[in-house]
C-alpha cells in the first residue's frame, strides 16, 4: 500500500459522496466518509432501476486499477476501501481552520445496537411491539422500531429508531448476542443528582430518569447534596429552590464554586420564578416550573446529556471537505395539495412508485392499486410537481424528473399488467442529456407510452370505479378528463433540509434557490477555500452529472491538499514478507463460528468438523463460540498461531466484514491473507429456516467444502507490476483541455497540450458572457495566462496527433506540428478534449439573407456591436434547428439557455423589442428556468411547434420585412405570421472528435460522433479502454461551467493512475499459460476491456494486468484452459462442483 499523503472529509454518502470518496481514495488519500443516515447510497439505495438500462450498474463505479484495495461486490451491499473510513449516522458539528488544515468535529448519533456484535438475525424485530411507517419503502409499508434501514446491506445490522422506540426492552432480552443496549453505557455514567425536600418529588424524578438509563442519586437537603457531590461525581443536578435549611440558591452558589462544569436545573414553584431567573445569572442552566410533566423533565435531561456527549465528539483533521448532501423530494401533501396526494391512496410520488415496483418493495414488485389491490391498467405521470412553480417559490427545473418519469413508465409497461397504458402529462419534455431524446422516442414508439402536453390541474376520484379522474387542458383550449388507476406525481427536488445550518457551520453561501452556491466557472468551489461541493447539493443533477461533479470536487480537494504540502502523513509500514508455501502440500486449518446460540437448534458444529476432517488437506478444525466478539477474535488469533498449516478457512457469517481483519490476522500470525478465506455458513440457516437441522448442517458443510476446494488451489503468485510514464497528454486546447491540463500540472505531473488551431481557447474565443452575467473573456484570460506560465505544461499549437499505440501507463503518441518535424510523446494517460462547434445549416433560409443568422453569429455581432437593438422592432428565434430529429437526434443542451441570454440582453437594450421564440421543448433545465421566467417577464412570446409542422420562413424582397415566419399557434388555434428584422437559429452543437483520433487511442465514438463513455452514468468521462478519458463537448454538449466540471473529473480519473509509480495487478486477474496457448485470439475478441493483445514477435498473448478486470470471459472462451483467472482455476471449479453435489 502506498503512503497516504493527506486526508479529506466527504460529507454525504450518496452517489456523489461515494464517487468523491473513491476518487480520492484511489488517488492515495485517506478519506473520512460521513453519512447522517445509517446506510450509504442516498436515494439510490431506494431506486433499483436507472435510465438507460432501467436496471442498476452502480458497481461500475468501483475501482478498476488496484481493485483489491476496495470491495468487489455490489455497491448496494456497502462499500469498502482500505483508504476510506466510513462513519454512518454521523454529522459534522464544526469545521475550523483553513484549506489544507481543517479541524473537524464529528458527532455520532446515539445508537442502541452495537453493529459489531449484531448478527442481523432479526429476533429483535420479531418481538418489537412498535410498528411505524417504513421510510425505505417511502412509507408504503410498516416496520418495527428496531429495523434494518435497507434490506440489502452487508453486513446488515439492525438499528433502533429512537423516536419510535417505547423502551420496552423486549429486544434486549431476546438478542442472542447482547448487541442491544437500550440504556446505553453513556447514560449510566451520566450521574444526575436530584435535590428536593419532598420525598415524592425526588423519588419519582429518580424513577423516571432511571428508566431512561441514567445514574440517579437523590438528596433531601442542600447539605446532603453537597455531601453526595463529594463522594461521587455528577454531571447534572436538579435543584429545588425552596428547601428548609440551605436553600437552592445557596447550594447553587456552592456548587458553582466547586464544580463549575455541573449543569444545574432549578426546580421552582410559580412563586419563586423570579428567584429562579436570578439563579440563572449565578450559573444555573435553566429552570423548570412545578408542577412539571415527566416528559418535559426527562427530555431536558436527555438534551443536556446529548449536548455534552456531542461536545465530546471525535475531532479529526482534514485538508479539504466535500459536501455531497444531495437534495430532498418535494412533499406534495404540503401546501394546497391540488392532486390529492395522501388523500387518494392511488396518487403516489415517483419514489413511492419505484418502491412499489421494487422486488424489495412493500408488495414484492406487484403493480396494484393501493386502494383496493386491483391490478393497475392505466397509469399517468404528472410532471413538474413542486418544480417550475412560482407559487411555491421554486422557479427552477429539477432536471431529472422527465427522464425518471419516462423510465418509470417503461418499467410499468414491462412489469405491470400486459394491457397497461401509460401516459405522461408534461409541459416541456426535457430530454436535454446525451441520448435522452432517443430514449424518449423509444418510449413512445417501442413502449407505446403516451406523451400528452398539458398541465394536469385537477385529480378527483370516481367512487364507482375507484379510478382517479385526471383533468388536463388540450392544446386547443379544451379540457379533457381521463380515468386512471394510478397517478404518479413527478415530485421535484429541493434543497436538503438543514442546508442553511450546514452553510452557516461550514461558512459557504446558498444560492437564490436555497442550494449551496458554487463559484462562477468553478462548479465545485465555494467561497471558502478548501470547502467543495458535489452532486445535487449545489443544484439538481442526474447521476452522470453528479458523478462528474464528484470527480470535479475531488480534483479540487486533491489540489487543495496538494497545495498545502500534502498534510498529515499516514505512512503505512512495510508489507510483511510471507513465506512461500507454493511448494508445500496444502494444509488447511478451519475455524468455525458457532454464532452464539443463534443457529437453529440441533446443529452440531462438531459433526460438521468431523466431516471436514475426512479431507486429507484439512489439518485441523476448531470451533469458536462467537467470532464477532473481542474474545472470539482473540481466540482465533490464539488458535492460528501454531505452525503446521499453510492455509486458513473461517466459517462465519458475512465474509465481507473480514477483509480488513484477515489482513491484520495475517500480519499477526504470519500467514499470507491471500491464503485465508471466509465462507458464509450463516445464511443457510436463514435461507433454510424451515429445514431440518441435518439439512442445514449439510448445506453449511457444502459451503465449507467448496471454500476448502478453492483454498486448496490458491497459490499466491507475485503480483505483476509495470512502471508507468507519469505524464499526461491532453488533446484540444479549449476550456476543457486547458482546465484538465492545469489540473494535472498543478499536481506536479508534466502535461503536453496539443491544439490543432493556432491559438488556444476554442469556443471561448467568441463567447462573451454567460446568462448569469459572468464575463467569459476575463475567465479565459485568467486560465490562459496561468497555463502559459505553467512550468509543467508544454503547449503544441497547430498540431495534431498522427498515431498512438500502447496502453494505460505507457502510451506512445506521435504528433505533427506544422513546419516542424513530428515528435513522439511518452505518456501514461490521454484526455480527449477536442470540443465541438456550432452546427452549420441551410434550413430556414440560412445563408440566403443577412437577416437569418445563427446564435454564434448573433453573439459575435452583439459583442462587436454590429447590432443596434434599438434600431430593430422584432426578432424571431427558432430552436432545435436540425436537432432532436434524425440524423442529429440529440439535444444540444446549451441553445435554449443561449436564446434566453440573448433575449434578456436585447430586451435590456430595447424593452419594446418584439421577441418571438419558436420552440419544441424549452430545455431550461435547473436554474436556467429562472431565466426562462425572466425572458417571459421581459415580454418574449414563446410559441411551440412540432416536427411535423415546423415554422416556414420567407426572406423578404425589397420593401418587405426582412424575414417573415409563418407558424401555427396551438393556443390561439391559428396561423400566425411574424415579420421580423432578424431571425436567429439555434442549430446546436456538433462534435469535433475525428474517428481516426479516437481509434488511435482505442476510444469509442457514438452514433452522433461524441465520445462513447465506458458507462453513461457511472463512468461518464472514462473510455472502456483504461487510461483514456474525455471531457468538454467531445463528451457531450455542455456549457462552459459544465465543461470545466467534466475536465476536472477527467483529470481526476487520470490522476488516479499518475499518482502511482507502477500499476499492479489485482488478485483476480487473467493469465495465459503460454505453453498451452494456440494463439487463436478468441480471448482477445471477448475481452471487454481490450486488455489483451497478441505479440506476434514473441508469439504470445499478452494480458495487461492493470486493464484486466478479472471477468473470466477469456477463460471460459479458451477451450483448453490456457487462459486462466487466478482464483478461478478450472480444476478448482470442477472440484468445487463435485464438492457441492455431494
Amino acid at each position: 500500500m502506498k503512503p497516504k499523503i493527506g486526508r479529506a472529509l466527504v460529507v454525504g454518502g450518496g452517489i456523489s459522496g461515494i464517487r468523491a470518496a473513491l476518487d480520492l481514495a484511489e488517488t492515495g488519500y485517506g478519506v473520512i466518509l460521513v453519512e447522517k443516515a445509517p446506510h450509504l447510497g442516498g436515494v439510490l439505495s431506494q431506486l433499483d432501476s436507472q435510465f438507460p438500462t432501467n436496471h442498476c450498474g452502480m458497481c461500475k463505479m468501483l475501482p478498476l486499477v488496484e481493485r483489491d484495495a476496495g470491495s468487489q461486490y455490489c455497491l448496494r451491499k456497502g462499500l469498502f476501501h482500505e483508504n476510506i473510513d466510513i462513519r454512518m449516522s454521523t454529522r459534522v458539528a464544526a469545521i475550523e481552520g483553513e484549506a489544507g488544515h481543517f479541524t473537524i468535529r464529528l458527532q455520532k448519533q446515539p445508537g442502541f445496537v452495537d453493529p459489531d456484535t449484531c448478527i442481523g438475525c432479526g429476533m429483535c424485530a420479531d418481538v418489537c411491539p412498535v410498528a411505524v411507517a417504513d421510510e425505505f419503502n417511502a412509507g408504503l409499508s410498516r416496520r418495527k422500531a428496531v429495523y434494518l434501514p435497507v434490506p440489502h446491506m452487508t453486513p446488515n445490522t439492525y438499528v433502533i429508531d429512537s423516536a419510535a422506540c417505547s423502551r420496552c426492552g423486549e429486544c434486549v432480552d431476546v438478542c442472542p448476542t447482547g448487541a442491544i443496549r437500550l440504556f446505553r453505557q453513556g447514560r449510566a455514567d451520566f450521574g444526575v443528582l436530584v435535590v428536593d425536600d419532598e420525598y415524592t418529588v425526588r423519588d419519582s424524578i429518580k424513577e423516571w430518569l432511571e428508566e431512561e438509563g441514567f445514574f440517579v442519586e437523590a438528596a433531601a437537603s442542600g447539605e446532603e447534596a453537597l455531601d453526595a457531590m463529594e463522594k461521587q461525581s455528577f454531571k447534572m443536578m436538579l435543584l429545588d429552590i425552596k428547601m428548609p435549611g440551605m436553600d437552592g440558591v445557596a447550594v447553587l452558589k456552592k456548587t458553582m464554586e466547586n464544580y463549575p462544569e455541573m449543569a444545574v436545573v432549578m426546580m421552582t414553584a410559580y412563586a419563586t420564578v423570579e428567584t429562579a431567573v436570578e439563579a440563572m445569572k449565578t450559573g444555573a442552566m435553566d429552570y423548570l416550573m412545578k408542577p412539571f410533566d415527566p416528559e418535559d423533565l426527562v427530555s431536558k435531561v436527555i438534551d443536556v446529556y446529548e449536548v455534552r456527549e456531542a461536545s465530546m465528539g471525535e475531532t479529526m483533521e482534514a485538508g479539504a471537505v466535500i459536501f455531497c448532501g444531495g437534495t430532498e423530494c418535494y412533499d406534495p401533501s404540503t401546501g394546497k395539495n391540488p392532486f390529492g396526494y395522501k388523500v387518494f391512496p392511488d396518487v403516489l410520488t415517483g419514489l413511492e412508485f419505484e418502491r412499489l415496483i421494487s422486488g424489495t418493495g412493500p408488495g414484492g414488485g406487484e403493480l396494484v392499486r393501493l386502494s383496493d389491490g386491483r391490478p393497475v391498467k392505466t397509469i399517468a405521470w404528472v410532471q413538474c410537481v413542486g418544480s417550475r412553480n412560482l407559487q411555491l417559490d421554486k422557479d427552477y427545473c429539477s432536471g431529472i424528473c422527465c427522464m425518471v418519469a419516462i423510465k418509470e413508465a417503461m418499467l410499468a409497461k414491462e412489469r405491470g399488467h400486459e394491457d397497461l397504458e401509460a401516459t405522461i402529462f408534461y409541459m416541456d419534455m426535457r430530454t436535454f442529456g446525451k441520448s435522452f431524446q432517443r430514449f424518449r422516442e423509444r418510449a413512445e414508439k417501442d413502449f407505446n407510452i403516451r406523451f400528452t402536453r398539458g398541465c394536469v390541474h385537477t385529480i378527483s376520484a370516481d367512487d364507482k370505479t375507484g379510478k382517479l379522474m385526471v383533468t388536463y387542458p388540450v392544446e386547443d383550449s379544451r379540457h379533457m378528463e381521463a380515468a386512471f388507476d394510478m397517478v404518479v406525481l413527478s415530485t421535484g427536488q429541493q434543497p436538503a433540509g438543514g442546508v442553511d445550518k450546514l452553510a452557516e457551520m461550514a461558512d459557504f453561501e446558498q444560492n437564490p434557490w436555497g442550494f449551496a452556491r458554487s463559484e462562477p466557472f468553478a462548479p465545485a468551489r465555494t467561497k471558502r477555500d478548501g470547502i467543495f461541493l458535489a452532486g445535487s447539493f449545489s443544484g439538481p443533477k442526474d447521476i452522470a452529472e453528479s458523478v462528474i461533479s464528484a470527480g470535479s470536487a475531488s480534483l479540487c480537494a486533491s489540489a487543495a491538499i496538494h497545495a498545502a504540502g500534502g498534510g498529515m502523513a499516514e505512512v503505512d509500514g512495510d508489507l510483511p514478507e510471507y513465506a512461500d508455501v507454493s511448494l508445500q502440500a496444502p494444509k488447511v486449518r478451519i475455524a468455525l463460528c458457532e454464532c452464539g446460540a443463534t443457529l437453529p437448534g440441533g446443529i452440531d458444529m462438531e459433526r460438521i468438523a468431523a466431516d471436514l476432517k475426512a479431507d486429507p488437506a484439512v489439518e485441523n478444525v476448531f470451533v469458536i463460540p462467537r467470532l464477532c466478539t473481542v474474545e472470539g477474535w482473540d481466540m482465533l488469533v490464539e488458535k492460528t498461531k501454531g505452525k503446521g498449516y499453510n492455509r486458513l478457512l473461517v466459517g462465519a457469517c458475512t465474509p465481507y466484514v473480514y477483509t480488513r481483519r484477515l489482513r491484520q490476522l495475517g500480519e499477526k500470525v504470519m500467514v499470507d491473507p491471500a491464503l485465508m478465506d471466509v465462507e458464509d455458513i450463516r445464511s443457510p440457516a436463514f435461507a433454510y429456516a424451515d429445514a431440518a437441522a441435518g439439512d442445514i448442517e449439510q448445506a453449511m458443510a457444502r459451503r465449507l467444502k467448496s471454500g476448502l476446494s478453492r483454498l486448496r488451489e490458491v497459490d499466491p503468485l507475485p503480483k505483476q507490476s509495470a512502471p508507468i510514464a507519469r505524464r499526461a497528454l491532453v488533446i484540444g486546447g479549449g476550456i476543457a483541455g486547458m482546465t484538465a491540463a492545469l489540473a494535472i500540472a498543478d499536481h506536479g505531473y508534466p502535461v503536453d497540450l496539443v491544439e490543432k488551431k493556432g491559438e488556444l481557447g476554442g469556443n471561448l474565443n467568441w463567447l462573451t458572457h454567460t446568462i448569469e452575467g459572468y464575463d467569459v473573456r476575463d475567465f479565459f484570460d485568467n486560465v490562459r495566462q496561468r497555463l502559459e506560465k505553467h512550468p509543467r505544461i508544454t503547449v503544441y499549437v497547430n498540431s495534431r496527433v498522427v498515431s498512438s499505440f500502447g496502453a494505460v501507463g505507457n502510451f506512445y503518441t506521435t504528433i505533427e506540428t506544422s513546419d516542424a518535424p513530428s515528435r513522439t510523446l511518452h505518456h501514461g494517460i490521454a484526455i480527449l478534449a477536442t470540443g465541438g462547434n456550432e452546427a452549420e445549416t441551410t434550413a430556414y433560409c440560412c445563408g440566403q439573407s443577412d437577416a437569418v443568422i445563427t446564435q454564434k453569429v448573433l453573439e459575435q455581432k452583439i459583442s462587436q456591436k454590429q447590432i443596434d437593438c434599438k434600431s430593430i422592432d422584432t426578432v424571431a428565434m427558432i430552436q432545435c434547428v436540425d436537432s432532436r430529429e434524425e440524423p442529429r437526434n440529440y439535444c444540444s443542451r446549451v441553445c435554449c439557455t443561449s436564446t434566453l441570454k440573448h433575449i434578456l440582453h436585447m430586451k435590456k437594450k430595447n424593452p419594446d423589442l418584439g421577441v418571438y421564440v419558436f420552440y419544441r421543448d424549452m430545455m431550461s433545465y435547473g436554474f436556467a428556468e429562472t431565466w426562462y421566467t425572466e425572458a417571459r417577464k421581459a415580454g418574449a412570446i414563446f410559441i411551440p411547434y412540432t416536427v411535423d409542422a415546423k415554422p416556414q420562413v420567407f426572406v423578404g424582397e425589397k420593401g418587405d420585412p426582412p424575414v417573415k415566419i409563418k407558424a401555427y399557434e396551438p393556443l390561439l388555434e391559428a396561423d400566425v405570421t411574424v415579420n421580423a428584422d432578424l431571425l436567429v437559429l439555434a442549430t446546436g452543437i456538433v462534435p469535433a472528435l475525428p474517428q481516426s483520433l479516437a481509434d488511435a487511442f482505442g476510444a469509442g465514438i457514438d452514433a452522433d460522433g461524441f465520445f462513447r463513455e465506458a458507462e453513461s452514468k457511472w463512468r461518464p468521462v472514462d473510455s472502456l479502454k483504461e487510461g483514456v478519458f474525455a471531457c468538454g463537448i467531445a463528451l457531450s454538449p455542455r456549457s462552459v461551467t459544465e465543461s470545466v466540471a467534466s475536465a476536472e473529473a477527467a483529470a481526476q480519473r487520470g490522476l488516479r493512475i499518475l499518482s502511482k509509480n507502477a500499476l499492479t495487478s489485482a488478485r483476480v486477474t487473467a493469465r495465459v499459460r503460454h505453453s498451452l496457448c494456440s494463439l487463436c485470439e478468441r480471448c482477445i475478441d471477448v475481452c471487454p476491456y481490450g486488455a489483451r493483445s497478441v505479440d506476434l514477435d514473441m508469439q504470445k498473448i499478452i494480458v495487461n494486468a492493470a486493464m484486466c478486470q478479472g471477468c473470466g470471459n477469456c477463460a471460459s472462451e479458451c477451450p483448453n484452459s490456457a487462459s486462466v483467472i487466478d482464483g478461478f482455476f478450472d480444476g478448482r471449479m470442477l472440484d468445487m462442483i463435485d464438492m457441492v453435489i455431494e
Binding site: 471487454p1088 471477468c1111 472462451e1117
Partner: protein, 140 residues
C-alpha cells in the same frame, strides 16, 4: 418418487444474482435447500465444462444467473453467457439431459424475491421431470 429432492447447481454472478441471493437470505425469504450456489465473477465466466460436469455428476438442474442485459459489471459478459447456454441447450438434450434442466436468468441485485421464486419454481419443475439419470448411472 415422492421423496425426490432435486439438486440444483446455481452459478451466480458476483454482482447481481449473488447479491440477490444474499438479499433473499437477509430478508429471510425462505427457499428450498436444494440449491447449491457457486459464485462466479460473471456469468461470462461460466465455462460450458462446468455445466457439463454438473450434469454428469448428477445435478438435476443447473441455473446460470447474472445481471440484466446492459447491466453486466463487465459490460457484456452476460450476452456471451447467453450464447454458451444456447449452445449447450442445442447439445445436451440430444443425450437425454432435458432442456428444462438448464436455465439462464437475469436476476438483479435487488431481486431477492425473484431469486427465491426462481429457485422454488425450478425445484417444483424438476420434481415433475424427475431425477437426472446420470445421478446414479456410472456416467462420467
Amino acid at each position: 418418487m415422492d421423496d425426490f429432492e432435486p439438486t440444483i447447481i446455481a452459478f451466480v454472478c458476483n454482482w447481481c444474482t449473488y447479491t440477490a441471493a444474499d438479499l433473499a437470505g437477509t430478508s429471510r425469504l425462505s427457499y428450498p435447500t436444494n440449491v447449491r450456489l457457486i459464485r462466479v465473477m460473471c456469468t461470462g465466466m461460466v465455462d460450458p465444462k462446468y455445466i457439463i460436469k454438473a450434469f454428469l455428476e448428477g445435478a438435476d438442474a443447473v441455473l446460470v444467473s447474472g445481471c440484466h442485459p446492459g447491466d453486466c459489471h463487465y459490460i457484456n459478459g452476460n450476452y456471451k453467457a447467453r450464447r454458451r447456454i444456447k449452445l449447450l441447450k442445442s447439445i445436451l438434450p440430444r443425450y437425454g439431459f432435458d432442456e428444462r434442466r438448464l436455465k439462464l436468468t437475469w436476476i438483479g441485485a435487488s431481486d431477492g424475491i425473484q431469486f427465491a421464486r426462481t429457485i422454488r419454481e425450478m425445484v417444483a419443475e424438476i420434481k415433475e421431470i424427475g431425477p437426472n439419470e446420470a445421478k446414479h448411472a456410472a456416467v462420467v
